[in-house]
């Protein structure tokens, strides 16, 4: 049952991604609406599959790479819909859904069995810490997509190449505003995730900070986004520079998420 729901959600996201990519080249209101509708359906099914797994496992399903990727994708779609509701930018899906699909696809090829949670990790911190971390990272992920949109629109305006996509992309001001809002949302979430992580580490392993690769990389990410906010407020690094920084920041997150688990040995590794 859980598997079927997951596969169904994956299929819906796949269809929505295809539509969203076609939308870049030849789109309109109808295709945007269809994409939103399919994504919405996928999101509901995805949510049910996560709840299903939550009940089966007895804790937030986030303790294997399969679960984590899927949950990450879910958080991104959640933020995507929040933005879509607020700003109504149909074309935004084209820059965010592909990532959602890739996350879901990598989730689908990873082992899916529910393994018993090691006693050290059995704590209410699991839900709090990971949820904060994932939501924070998801807002940075969406900020990256918005950053790409900004760079594209910026390029069109500078080069005076004002085609169809230029017309459908929102204004630079809106994109910059969304980017800024997402980072101001993601940054405190990441901060709280690190703090709750430290508290949890103290109660589980006996020390707040152990220079574990995941911790280090999270700290690096935190510094990148702290820098993004800092230079924006002091030196006026908005627009293009903020967009580039938010893309770099997200690359660091991707490394924290995948790279650390695959390449480095970490306490956070899903064993």
């Amino acid at each position: 049952m859980g598997t079927v729901l997951f596969e169904l959600a994956l299929t819906f996201y796949f269809a929505a991604t295809i539509i969203s990519i076609v939308d870049i080249f030849k789109g309109g209101k109808e295709s945007s609406r269809l994409m939103l509708f399919i994504t919405g359906a996928g999101f509901i099914i995805h949510s049910v599959s996560i709840i299903y797994r939550y009940i089966a496992a007895g804790h937030l399903p986030i303790t294997s790479m399969h679960e984590a990727s899927s949950f990450f994708a879910w958080c991104i779609v959640l933020i995507f819909f929040f933005l879509e509701y607020r700003y109504k930018i149909g074309i935004m899906g084209s820059f965010i859904l592909p990532l959602v699909f890739i996350l879901m696809l990598s989730s689908s090829v990873l082992p899916r069995e529910i393994r018993p949670l090691s006693p050290v990790l059995q704590s209410y911190w699991l839900g709090i810490h990971t949820f904060l971390a994932f939501l924070g990272n998801a807002s940075f992920a969406v900020a990256c997509g918005i950053g790409i949109m900004y760079l594209l629109q910026e390029h069109y305006l500078k080069s005076k190449h004002l085609g169809d996509l230029f017309k459908r992309l929102p204004s630079l001001q809106v994109l910059d505003e969304i980017n800024y809002k997402l980072i101001t949302l993601g940054f405190p979430l990441l901060t709280l995730a690190i703090i709750t992580g430290a508290l949890w580490a103290e109660s589980a392993w006996g020390s707040y900070w152990r220079w574990d690769p995941k911790e280090v990389w999270s700290l690096i990410t935190w510094f990148i986004y702290a820098l993004v906010l800092h230079v924006r407020l002091t030196a006026g690094w908005r627009g293009k520079r903020a967009a580039i920084l938010s893309i770099i920041g997200f690359l660091a997150i991707l490394f924290t998420f995948f790279g650390v688990n695959l390449l480095l040995k970490s306490l956070h590794a899903f064993s």
């Binding site: 305006l157 204004s171 001001q173 006026g236 627009g239």
Partner: protein, 424 residues
């Protein structure tokens, strides 16, 4: 009954003729009533704008209606027929319907896709409606013209892109700033085209307006007009720090703003975006400035390119619009022909009743001995027979088939209905 449109527009008539034939102010009411009094003309509405005069009518005999309307125009506007006759066009039937739909959808406009015409058409129709000079046919036609225009607007992107330099400037500004309210704007110099573009920017809600001109008095004048504040030309650089949009047209032979100066300004304003429109020829703003981050510089050629591509785009969209209009014209013609079948059905029934009554009279005269009750029975039989006979053609007439016009003609011929009593 046929729909007939007589009119002229910017393509067929020069402004002199358009002026003279226009129905302005009180002339509109007089004109409508005058036209309505022409015996051949059954319904009237008049659309009169600076680019066109259109007389929408219904008539049975279109040739005489056209002739009478031309005479009326000549009398009414005090102008010999020869002077304007060549500028007039007359469309009937599907041609007329198509013409009205195209006018409403702004496909016939000077600037294809401009939206004002639909409002003008609505007003013209509302006016005729209030004067009760229209009837079933024109009312329906106008409603359909309006809904067709709306369909064209939602299903094509004909009106989406700016096709003048001023509008293109506003459109671009909105792609940088979303909306212009709360933004500050500086007009640098006072060329005519710059003034026009500035007016568009100001009309779009810019709150803070500054005018810097070499002759300070002229600058003050313009500033007053835009509800802004005059700035001495030598001081304009100091104000740039708080300016989001600049339109420049100074007539100076060299650049008045250089890259290094602008770089400094950008630093001062913490790199908040700036949109600069340089309408001057030769250019007054160093083109290198476009390379600075968050500065967007467009010169007059850039804007013209935007306009040219948009015009091309509109032409493509106009083709889609023509298809929509084809569909709507076809629907309307169908509706019109359904009107025709009703009088034929009525006439057919009447004819049958007539025959029945006639034959009953003859029967009574021939057999006077038959009593009232038996006559009733015979009458019942006769009614049943004519009902049975009339039923199939009635059904056929009500059916929506392609060859209904022929069918109507054929039934009229077969049953000897010389309908069209109300036609001349």
């Amino acid at each position: 009954m046929k729909i007939l449109v007589i009119g002229l527009n910017h393509k067929t008539a020069n402004v002199e003729i358009r002026e003279k034939l226009a129905f302005n102010g009180p002339k509109l009411e007089e004109g409508i009533f005058g036209l309505r009094r022409i015996p051949a003309v059954k319904e009237v509405a008049v659309l009169s704008t600076c680019n066109r005069v259109e007389i929408f009518t219904c008539a049975n005999n279109t040739a005489s209606a056209v002739d009478n309307i031309k005479n009326f125009l000549s009398d009414f506007h005090d102008m010999p027929r020869n002077d304007f006759e060549k500028s007039l066009y007359a469309h009937t039937d599907s041609g007329a319907i198509r013409h009205i739909f195209r006018v409403a959808s702004s496909l016939d406009s000077m600037v294809v896709g401009e939206p004002q015409i639909l409002g003008q058409l609505k007003d013209a129709f509302d006016f005729a409606l209030s004067k009760k000079t229209t009837g079933v046919l024109l009312n329906k036609l106008m409603k359909k013209a309006i809904s067709t225009a709306k369909r064209v607007r939602t299903e094509t992107r004909i009106a989406e892109n700016a096709v003048s330099i001023s509008f293109a400037a506003v459109e671009l500004a909105k792609k940088i700033f979303t909306d212009l309210s709360g933004k500050s704007f500086m007009l640098l110099g006072a060329g005519e085209m710059a003034e026009l573009a500035a007016r568009h920017i100001v009309n779009n809600g810019v709150t803070d307006v500054m005018v810097a001109n070499r002759t300070y008095d002229r600058g003050c004048e313009l500033a007053k007009e835009f509800n802004g504040k005059p700035v001495k030309f030598e001081d304009f650089l100091n104000e740039l720090q708080r300016t989001d949009i600049i339109i420049c047209s100074t007539g100076a032979p060299t650049y008045v703003l250089f890259k290094e100066q602008m770089q400094k300004v950008m630093k001062e304003r913490k790199h908040k975006p700036v949109f600069i429109i340089d309408i001057s020829v030769p250019r007054n703003i160093d083109p290198e400035i476009n390379k600075i981050d968050n500065v967007y510089l467009y010169d007059v050629d850039d804007l013209q390119d935007v306009v040219d591509t948009n015009i091309l785009e509109r032409k493509k969209e106009a083709e889609k619009a023509e298809k929509i209009i084809d569909e709507e014209v076809e629907k309307f013609i169908k509706w019109m022909s359904s009107l025709d079948s009703v009088p034929t059905i009525v006439a057919l029934r009447q004819k049958a009743e007539e025959i029945k009554n006639e034959e009953l009279e003859k029967f009574k005269n021939k057999f006077p001995e038959i009593d009232e009750e038996k006559i009733k029975a015979v009458e019942y039989l006769a009614t049943a027979i004519i009902n049975k006979l009339v039923h199939p053609p009635t059904v056929a007439l009500k059916e929506d088939t392609e060859d209904r016009d022929e069918l109507i003609a054929m039934i009229k011929k077969l049953y000897g209905i010389n309908g069209d009593e109300n036609e001349e």
